[in-house]
């Protein structure tokens, strides 16, 4: 962790409404206060998140690469054994950059849950129909947010509108529907329709490649914590910052396998990177923006409750009122339900001691998740500061002022009343 230097202290106090948080960031800290309970909560939930995420990324890549344009994708949530065994690029002995010490295939707790679920050992299809499974709908909702908001930095979106992408997609569409006059006829009549679907599938691949990195990062953080290896919240944040840099240059691409042949819709040679084309758009779309979910809390667009500008949307986890959202049976609830299955015992114990115990455990873990995502967002903010601005201990006051202006502009996004930054500063918010 970088310590506050005398030069940073030399700056006059910040006058920002979140001055305390700004100064904590300037001292190398996180937006989340450094307390032992916060550390326990965020690491515990990272682990509970990583297990379903291990399913999400595998199935997203299965959908993008294998299911592709299947008009009736009834079995898209049943990834093939090949995708369950597929070595994660960042774990296992074969990994060139090993982030997690574990094996490369699907996580053992995930495989156990897929077999038994909550109701016991039954055929896969029954687990699916009873909804006793990993909720891929959550993953698809995140992808939809990225697709819908678009244009959040990076070059990915511009590429989807390019002629070369159109040609690559066209080849894959024609190959996929070879010998299917009905679909080829439809394609001729409405060429944009299938092209839009391919664009969406490119975002599916994008998100799958993004999460393939995050799952081992979170697993490793959990293992380090279990060994007593993190000194506090800033140390956990620094692990994320280093992880962001280490994989920043990972290629983002989209390939499809049709009858054994590989079609490159977005080749690796386009130079798209994990940081610019996946991570930053993901954080913007999913943590900040998303969409006003329909649920027990409704929004009246005519009364101006929904902003007219997409960039002003503020329905992500950093702003969510976990209680009403959590009672609506909609995407965030699905994630909470997924995480519930893989909570480490120390978090379950914590929830039983507070509020209504088991009865509102989904709300409690949703708020923990919110805290943990304030920490991930802090890591992104610190990584951007490190990449685009100056070291925290820079001796030049002008550089420190530039850092402060950056931190303050980031905190401006949390001034609106819906933001939960104020709430996560206290332990009473559960």
């Amino acid at each position: 962790m970088t310590v506050l230097t005398s030069s940073a202290k030399a700056l006059p106090p910040s006058t920002h409404p979140f001055a305390e948080v700004v100064e904590r960031l300037e001292a190398g800290g996180s937006m989340l206060p450094d307390t032992p309970e916060n550390l326990m909560q965020i690491i515990g939930i990272y682990k509970a998140y990583a297990v379903p995420m291990d399913f999400y990324w595998r199935d997203l890549l299965y959908i993008a690469e294998q299911v592709f344009l299947n008009p009736l994708p009834a079995f898209k949530y049943f990834p093939s054994q090949e995708y369950l065994d597929r070595p994660n690029s960042y774990q296992g002995d074969q990994a060139e950059l090993r982030i997690w010490r574990g094996e490369a295939g699907a996580h053992p707790e995930l495989l156990e849950f897929m077999e038994k679920g909550e109701i016991g050992k039954l055929p896969k299809l029954l687990h699916h129909l009873w909804h006793d499974r990993i909720n891929m709908e959550f993953a698809e909702a995140c992808m939809d947010a990225m697709l819908w908001h678009q244009g959040m930095g990076g070059r990915f979106n511009d590429y989807l509108d390019s002629e070369v992408y159109r040609q690559n997609a066209d080849k894959a569409i024609k190959a996929y529907f070879k010998g299917n006059p009905l679909m080829l006829g439809l394609y001729k009549l409405f060429p944009e329709m299938l092209l839009e679907q391919v664009k969406k599938l490119s975002y599916v691949a994008n998100l799958g490649l993004f999460w393939e990195v995050m799952a081992p990062v979170f697993f490793e953080m959990s293992d380090i914590y279990d060994e007593g290896g993190f000194s506090g919240v800033p140390a956990a944040m620094d692990f994320l910052v280093n992880g962001i840099f280490a994989v920043a240059g990972r290629p983002i691409y989209h390939q499809v396998f049709i009858r054994g042949e590989c079609f490159e819709i977005i080749p690796k040679s386009e130079g798209f990177t994990w940081l610019y084309e996946a991570a930053l758009p993901y954080v913007e779309a999913v943590f900040y923006r998303t969409a006003p979910f329909r649920g027990t809390k409704s929004y009246n667009a005519q009364a101006g409750q929904v902003p007219s500008e997409q960039s002003e949307f503020h329905y992500g986890i950093l702003y969510a009122d976990v209680f009403p959202v959590g009672s609506a049976g909609i995407p965030p609830t699905l994630l909470m339900q997924d995480m519930l299955h893989f909570l480490p015992p120390y978090l379950t114990e914590l929830y039983l001691q507070h509020k209504r115990g088991e009865d509102d455990i989904l709300v409690q873990l949703g708020i923990t998740f919110q805290r943990s995502m304030y920490n991930v967002t802090s890591a992104v903010i610190q990584a951007l500061r490190a990449a685009l601005l100056f070291p925290l201990d820079d001796p030049d006051p002008e550089h420190l002022k530039a850092n402060r202006a950056f931190f303050e502009s980031q905190m401006d996004r949390f001034i609106r009343p819906e933001a939960r930054l104020r709430d996560v500063q206290t332990e009473h918010y559960r």
Binding site: L97, R155, F245, A248, T273, L388, L389, F390
Partner: protein, 133 residues
Amino acid sequence: MANIIETAKGAGLFSTLLTAVEVAGLTGALESPGPFTVFAPVDDAFAALPPGTVQTLVQNPPQLARILKFHVISGAYSRSDLVDQPSWESLEGAMIPIRCAEPFEVKNTSVLSADIVCDNGIVHVINRVMLPG
């Protein structure tokens, strides 16, 4: 006079940069008539990046090439030319802001040595690797 690559080799400060340029397949381009303006990070600048950053990029030449192209401007521009304009388009496509004329700072880097004239362009030595954004 030497070209950009020969000049960098002669200086002895740019072994990581030269390796990266080679891996990314950009050596030929930087030996061509150009001309180019190159912001060349010293070895210490690459060493300061968190562990794994350079390794991942070296394993992925197109992605590495993109980052390196962010350090190059088409045309030969001296320090006095560069400070006349608030930002310049890099070969990567993103803009490189000129932060300060005195001391000479480009984006978030300090120029350690400016105006090294080569056959096919001008090199400015910088203390940090620049990232687009």
